[in-house]
């Protein structure tokens, strides 16, 4: 049991550390990068969907009827 737990833990750690952590030349940039990207590792759609809806509404407000025509073209895209 102990050996199984150890092997499981070892395999998990090998998997976690399979890539080196990202780091930039500047500490503040590394900090900014990690703060902005860490929410995207778990349930990114919680952030993506509100962001996309805001972008869609803004695009409609800016473009108006052109936005509707673009969606018509997009629907033919498949």
């Amino acid at each position: 049991m102990t050996i199984t737990n150890y092997n499981h833990l070892k395999n998990k750690l090998d998997e976690i550390y399979m890539v080196n952590p990202n780091s930039f030349q500047y500490g503040w940039l590394t900090f900014l990068y990690k703060r902005t990207t860490s929410p995207l590792k778990y349930m990114p759609l919680l952030y993506i969907i509100p962001f996309s809806s805001v972008c869609a509404v803004c695009a409609y407000k800016i473009m108006g009827s052109l936005f509707i025509h673009m969606v018509t073209i997009l629907q033919h895209g498949f």
Partner: protein, 204 residues
């Protein structure tokens, strides 16, 4: 008995594909990391069967489009060429221990948002056929559809980044550089596909 094992393996791969699709939504980082440590031909066959099945069904309802096998071939060729591109560039960056199969496998899983978008667009084309109008319902649907499309696109970008990160083990700066290089090659290819009436929206 061999048939029993064969079908059980296919069933297990089916379950894995759906399970990984779900967890690519919930926790894409851990799931893509797990995918990069694995390689299963059956899962690839399942994913590309979904791709071919979509083209086949879409061709029945839109016979003016290209033959489904040709479109399927273009998709597989594109995935293969993309994987080869990243493999060669990563090799040039000094990553000699990466495997082409890992890049191909993880990149194939990034097709899932594409499959979802094309399937949904196909269904909506018949449920709520275009053109959209300036009525309240038309505007509402346009905003919802754009939100849906943009969400899938951003999710796909996240999956693409994680795919390259875990299959090539490069850092973010090099990945951004490679992606810019890839987009510079991809852009004329997308334009060519559009002008040749192969894909109006690229199946990438």
């Amino acid at each position: 008995m061999d048939f029993k094992v064969f079908f059980l393996n296919i069933a297990a791969s089916f379950i894995l594909v759906f399970k990984r699709t779900y967890f690519l939504i919930v926790s894409p980082y851990k799931t893509m990391r797990k995918i990069s440590t694995d390689f299963d031909i059956t899962q690839l066959v399942i994913i590309y069967t979904f791709v071919y099945a979509f083209f086949q069904v879409a061709h029945i309802y839109r016979p003016i489009s290209n033959p489904p096998f040709f479109l399927f071939f273009m998709v597989v060729l594109n995935v293969f060429a993309t994987s080869l591109f990243f493999y060669v560039i990563s090799f040039a960056f000094g990553k000699r221990d990466i495997q082409f199969s890992t890049i191909f496998f993880t990149w194939s899983y990034t097709l899932i948002p594409t499959i979802i978008w094309f399937t949904t667009s196909f269904v909506l084309y018949f449920l709520i056929p275009p053109p959209r109008t300036m009525s309240f319902n038309g505007k509402l649907f346009s905003i919802v559809f754009t939100t849906f499309s943009l969400s899938l696109l951003l999710w796909k970008f996240i999956l693409v980044y994680f795919s390259i990160r875990f299959s090539t083990k490069l850092d973010v700066a090099r990945i951004v550089f490679i992606m810019l290089l890839y987009m510079s090659v991809l852009a004329p290819y997308i334009v060519w596909m559009y002008l040749s009436n192969i894909f109006r929206v690229p199946f990438l």
